[in-house]
Amino acid sequence: MEYLKEATFILRREIAQFWPYLFLVIFIVMAILSPWISPFDPDRQHLLARLKAPGFEVNGGVFWLGSDELGRDVLSRVIYGARISVFVAFLSVIFSGVAGTALGMLAGHHRGWFEQILMRLVDVFLSIPAILLAILLVAILGPGIVNVILVLSLSRWPRYARVAHAQTLSLANREFVVISNAMGATTLHVLRTHIFPNIFNQILVIATLEFGLMVLFEAGLSFLGLGVQPPAASWGSMLSTGRNYVSTAWWISTFPGVGLFILVLSANTIGERVGGLPKYGGTES
């Protein structure tokens, strides 16, 4: 019995530690494997089985999470929605992170007018409320999945740039940087071998938190009709149509919302935890 007690204790502790990673992996697997694991084609309409409650049996399978207003399987659409969310968030974080970090490091390394102009531009971008900036850009570029990624990258790079700039400045007077400069190393060399490895941890923490935010932004834009366009299955647009049926078919809006919530919560929890470690500039053990 003692062993059993200890085993459950360890198991509980480990689950408490790892659930966000577990969920994140589940969503990523869902995103990659969606064509193979979803029971139905997400766009296939069963017009005789519209707005059916979860568990409804249709010829060829079961709507485990019900069907929407066009008789499409909600479960399949949630799985494909994970694909869009993960894909958009991942690419936006990569693009904005790479661009922002590179520009920020350059500005910190190459002081002078470039730094001044870039950092004032960062101020300008960060002073426009993020969702308004994204809405404005989408309104100009037009909706669609490619434009959403473009818009999110365009509106989020300043956050990385500001941190990369500050961190680079704090490293500028350290011996290894000064000596490397004095020995005639190229900018690229200094930034790549001396600066970047030292600021990578901070950038990683921001990127993790930004991932959750990007998932929310994509869903928000799609919810407002400015993001991924129908019939593509995005959690945001599913919520938006589900809202019209909330009194008769709660399942349409509930399940994409649950998916969204768990994915964002996992990303935020991981970000918090990683950011709290001393190695990444935090204080918690």
């Binding site: 969702i131 809405i135 404005l136 919810f223 919520l239 938006s240 509930t254 919530f261 964002v264 929890t269």
Partner: protein
């Protein structure tokens, strides 16, 4: 102090100028607005007249100068879609959004402060971990989904609250909660951090040694000293709330600035959209400025 003020004000002014320029040039990228404004049957002459009315026949730089000058004079132009001055359209919506923002701020403060206090006082116990998980959940809840769930539960199933629109206090409850959840998380966490920091200081320890406990410790000793960071983020929270209003107002059909933004985008009424963006960033910049100033007012130890 004076030097700092001058520096901060000029920095804020420069940022606003940058935003105005950015908005102008972004809007230029959208192409010719005249084609969208006029019906398909419009003749060449109609288009020409319209371009002259809108000042589009002038070179870009003079348009830019005019735009800057007009904005500086608080002349925000004319919406041809709604056939009314933009400033009039926007001011008619401000009270609604303000009402919502105040509701959300009140909700997030009333719940956030005590939550943060409890988390700080129970820091070493399991309760604190659960509360922290709750706070993190609030932070991760998409506004539009929490709104829909509340509509489902309180509006449709229980029928306690109206699902959309405005008018009475009961209309305000759900939108405020939905909008305020994120700020609640911020307040709770800021309060927790600030109080934890204060709790470790000597004066608290000696107060505790003298037998001061509970509410008296909080009220007489802790509150004022840990208030600095909390009050100063309030200014920034306000600007966050105004941006979050876009989604919440759409969910609850709340006729404020957020809904106006969405309606204007649907109608391709950029004259209105650009001014809302300007207003949003103006509020953000001022909020940052105010929070800097508040720091020194609340805590005289911080010299600018």
């Amino acid at each position: 102090m004076i030097r700092f003020l001058v520096f901060r004000f000029s920095q804020a002014a420069l940022t606003i100028f940058g935003v105005v320029s950015l908005v102008f040039f972004l809007q230029r990228l959208t192409g010719d607005p005249v084609a969208l404004l006029l019906p398909e049957t419009a003749t060449e002459d109609d288009i020409k007249v319209m371009r002259e009315v809108m000042g589009l026949d002038q070179p870009v730089w003079s348009q830019y100068a005019n735009f800057l000058f007009d904005t500086f004079k608080l002349d925000f132009g004319f919406s041809f879609v709604r056939n009314a001055p933009v400033s009039e359209i926007i001011t008619s919506r401000i009270p609604e959004t303000l009402e919502l923002a105040i509701g959300a701020l009140a909700f997030s403060m009333v719940c956030g402060f005590p939550l943060g206090l409890i988390m700080a006082f129970t820091a070493r116990r399991q309760v604190s971990k659960w509360l922290m998980a709750f706070v993190l959940a609030c932070q991760s809840l998409p506004t539009f989904w929490s709104g829909i769930v509340m509509i489902l539960v309180f509006g449709v199933w229980l029928q306690w609250l109206p699902t959309s629109g405005t008018g009475s206090l009961s209309h305000l409850i759900m939108p405020s909660i939905s909008l305020g959840l994120l700020s609640l998380a911020t307040y709770a966490r800021m309060t927790r951090t600030a109080v934890l920091e204060e709790l470790e200081k000597d004066y608290i320890r000696s107060a505790r040694a003298r037998g001061v406990r509970g509410a008296r410790l909080v009220r007489k000793h802790l509150l004022r000293n840990s208030l600095v960071p909390i009050v100063s983020i309030s200014a920034i929270e306000v600007s966050q709330l105004l941006a979050g209003a876009v989604v919440v107002e759409t969910v609850f059909a709340w006729p404020g600035l957020g809904l106006l933004t969405m309606q204007s985008i649907a109608a391709r009424d950029f004259a209105v959209v650009q001014i809302i963006v300007l207003l949003g960033s103006f509020i953000t910049v001022s909020a940052n400025l105010i929070s800097d100033l508040l720091y020194s007012i609340i805590d005289p130890r911080i010299r600018l």
